[in-house]
């Protein structure tokens, strides 16, 4: 099982108990009075049978508060997701923090910020490198790239999943568009791996048919589901953090009820990717203060009140177009606030250029940052041994030293984290060894990973079965005029 990081102190709370209660009550008010649109007769019937009030003509479901609250209680506060290699199993929930790899549309040039469509080899190499990074515990859907040279858009999700399963044993998420979940479920089963399913709303307060059909397929396959709404503050949600917290909660709780109606006890991970709108351009305001505060409030409510595991996506995509100072501070501040406020998963490694690109070298640098964040929430041990009072007394005042003590030799390795890509040389040595910065050192680390890392391969029959499934997918989409 992957260890992740264990938060050992109370999370940071940005809301009072009374505010949490008020937000929850007003969320229930939105769900019962405004409702949520479900673009599927099958879903509408199921929700009606489960006790919701349904307007079949308008496709709107109105959720009675008691049904929402009992559905919340039916969600497990933690659950296991199994990999084809047990070392990569995940126990999601509680005080455990896992990191999810980020993604991007295309490959970013680490030096210039220019983007290009990655080849299949570049795609697979990026997955392989992520498999080697200790702090990446799982993958998002269509990771690492939205576009791969030679792969038609409609085949991207299923092909991308196949490549992740071939080049890594880490758990991954499925996706939902254009019936891809049909193929992704089959591919995961062929590989002997559980998937985390996907159900994403279209804010405000709506679920498209794809999302609903995806949920049915993933739940019926026995997989847990990652739910998300991704509203834009000031666009598809109120511009205020409080208002968009309520609208996002309403969207996600509608999904919680729906999924529990399909199968009671299904594991759910609730994602927060609510982002303010950049009012200069209408674009998303990536890695903004508003996103950070929104996630902190979200983590508190879903952890304390609902006891449903959370994921935060705010740190996945810096606004910066390059792997530079801006991208580092943008991602780190928001990931740290996520971790401190109790997120169970944080999307982090490798994304840049406002969701439009990814680079594995950046993922290597982000590995160090993620470990730093993870170890921060693990705090430090306070014990007789670590307080070292006897040692303090024996060393005494100047000229006493701690450097030549067994205690120092033993404990520095336990208490320190030594980043693998950061420069820690003295200035003269830095000059003498080529003035390498973090990017140069990450490139060296990448070469080392490519030369030495090993991934447990799929069997020949598993590979062949996956190829057959992809062929079936092609025929399916061709018949639909999408290929």
């Amino acid at each position: 099982m992957r260890r992740g990081f264990t938060r050992k102190f109370e999370p940071v709370r940005v809301l009072t108990d009374s505010q949490v209660e008020t937000i929850h009550k007003r969320t229930l008010e939105v769900l019962s009075e405004a409702g949520c649109k479900f673009e599927s007769q099958r879903a509408l019937k199921l929700l009606k049978e489960s006790g919701c009030k349904v307007d079949f003509e308008g496709h709107i479901v109105y959720f009675p508060p008691d049904i929402v609250e009992s559905s919340i209680k039916n969600c497990p506060s933690s659950f296991l997701v199994r990999s084809r290699d047990p070392k990569d199993n995940l126990l999601i929930g509680g005080n455990t923090l896992y990191f999810m790899s980020s993604l991007g549309a295309r490959l970013s040039n680490i030096d210039t910020g220019d983007v290009s469509i990655p080849t299949m080899q570049e795609n697979n190499q990026a997955v392989f490198i992520s498999d080697a990074l200790d702090s990446i515990d799982l993958y998002s859907g269509y990771t690492p790239y939205f576009e791969i040279e030679g792969v038609e858009p409609v085949m991207l999700c299923s092909t991308s999943l196949a490549m992740r399963l071939r080049n890594s044993t880490k758990i991954t998420r499925g996706t939902q568009p254009t019936d891809t979940f049909i193929w992704e479920t089959q591919i995961a089963k062929a590989a002997g791996q559980e998937l985390i399913g996907n159900m994403e709303a279209a804010a405000p307060l709506s679920y498209p048919e794809d999302a609903i059909n995806a949920a049915f397929t993933y739940v019926e396959a026995g997989f847990p589901v990652y739910i998300a709404a991704g509203s834009v503050m000031g666009g598809t949600a109120p511009v205020t953090v409080a208002g968009s917290t309520i609208s996002n909660n309403a969207e996600l709780l509608a999904a919680v009820v729906f999924i529990q109606c399909i199968k009671k006890g299904t594991g759910i991970i609730a994602n927060d990717f609510v982002t303010p709108m950049n009012m200069e351009s209408g674009d998303l305001f990536f890695c903004s203060l508003g996103a950070s505060l929104h996630q902190m409030a979200f983590n508190q409510i879903w952890h304390d009140l609902y006891k449903i595991p959370t994921n935060n996506t705010g740190s996945a995509f810096p606004y910066s177009k390059k792997a530079d100072y801006q991208s580092a501070y943008e991602k780190t501040h928001i990931a740290m606030s996520s971790a401190l406020s109790g997120a169970n998963m944080i999307v982090f490694h490798g994304g840049v250029t406002a969701e439009l690109s990814y680079n594995p070298i950046l993922a290597i640098i982000d590995d160090d940052i993620a470990i730093t964040i993870g170890k921060t929430i693990e705090g430090f041990e306070v014990s007789e041994e670590t307080m070292a009072v006897d040692l303090i007394k024996s060393v005494g005042p100047v000229p006493g030293t701690f450097l030549n003590k067994n205690h120092t030799r033993t404990w520095w390795k336990k208490e320190y984290f030594m980043p693998k890509s950061a420069d820690r040389t003295s200035f003269p040595e830095w000059q003498r060894t080529g003035k390498k910065g973090v990017i140069e050192k990450a490139k060296e680390r990448m070469e080392e990973i490519l030369a030495t890392h090993k991934v447990k391969p799929l069997s020949g029959s598993q590979d062949a079965e996956i190829d057959c499934i992809l062929d079936e997918a092609r025929k399916y989409y061709k018949a639909k005029g999408l290929l």
Binding site: E39, A105, I117, Y142, F146, E147, E152, P153, V154, L156, C157, T175, Q176, P177, T178, T180, A202, S206, P208, E209, D210, V232, G234, G235, T236, M277, M279, E280, S281, G282, D283, L284, E355, L356, K480, G481, L482
Partner: protein
């Protein structure tokens, strides 16, 4: 005439609540429809657009100004007599592609295009292939625009274009595509003439197309 200047200021301030009364007042003071449009409404929108471009105003300011202008235009249009008409720059049919429910970007493009004088037929979200075809037959647009937020639903754009081709209508329209994940490469791959990364540049591209006709 002070009422014309009041109309201008109301649009600039996004005051859609009072704009109709101000237009009525201007008409009472014998202002012509042409004067109201060309000396008040349009100049105000152009100024707002320039200020948005220079960073002095922001998205909500622009949308409210456009709302005020649309409110005024909706009041004015039924008053036009006989041969009078509001000159339209062109006709745009726009919708979010099949499978995608997102519409912020599309709505921004609608606002910007109307601000530029286009008649816009907004088909809404999750628009089926056949609805675009029907809209082309009915409204005979100059430009057909597809909007999408999800990379994965943009996979439906080629199917939309195919439906237009199969109906024999491809040569009659210029196709535009936009949305956060769209790229110039994507547009080129499917023979799409206009690619715009944001609403503001979309409207400018539309104007360029019309001016070449």
């Amino acid at each position: 005439m002070s009422s014309l200047s009041d109309i201008h200021d109301a649009v600039a301030a996004g005051n859609y609540k009072d704009i109709v009364e101000l237009v009525k007042k201007a008409i009472d003071e014998k202002a012509t429809i042409d004067e109201i449009i060309n000396k008040s409404l349009s100049p105000a929108m152009l100024e707002v657009g320039d200020k948005f471009g220079s960073g002095e105003l922001y998205m909500p300011d622009m949308l409210l100004a456009a709302k005020a202008m649309k409110t005024a235009m909706d009041y004015i249009k039924p008053l036009l007599k006989g041969s009078e008409h509001v000159a339209e720059k062109g006709v745009l049919v726009i919708g979010t592609v099949k499978g995608d429910l997102h519409d912020i970007g599309k709505n921004l493009v609608v606002t910007m295009a109307e601000g530029q004088g286009f008649k816009v037929v907004d088909l809404g979200i999750d628009v089926d292939y056949s609805r675009f075809v029907e809209a082309i037959k009915e409204h005979k647009p100059d430009i057909v625009a597809f909007s999408g937020l999800l990379t994965t639903t943009l996979a439906n754009v080629p199917a939309h274009i195919k439906a237009i081709e199969d109906a024999g209508l491809r040569k009659d329209v210029v196709i535009a595509v936009g949305g956060a994940p769209v790229t110039r490469h994507f547009a080129d791959m499917y023979g799409i003439e206009i690619y715009a990364p944001d609403a503001s540049s979309a409207a400018k591209e539309f104007v360029k197309v019309i001016s070449k006709k």
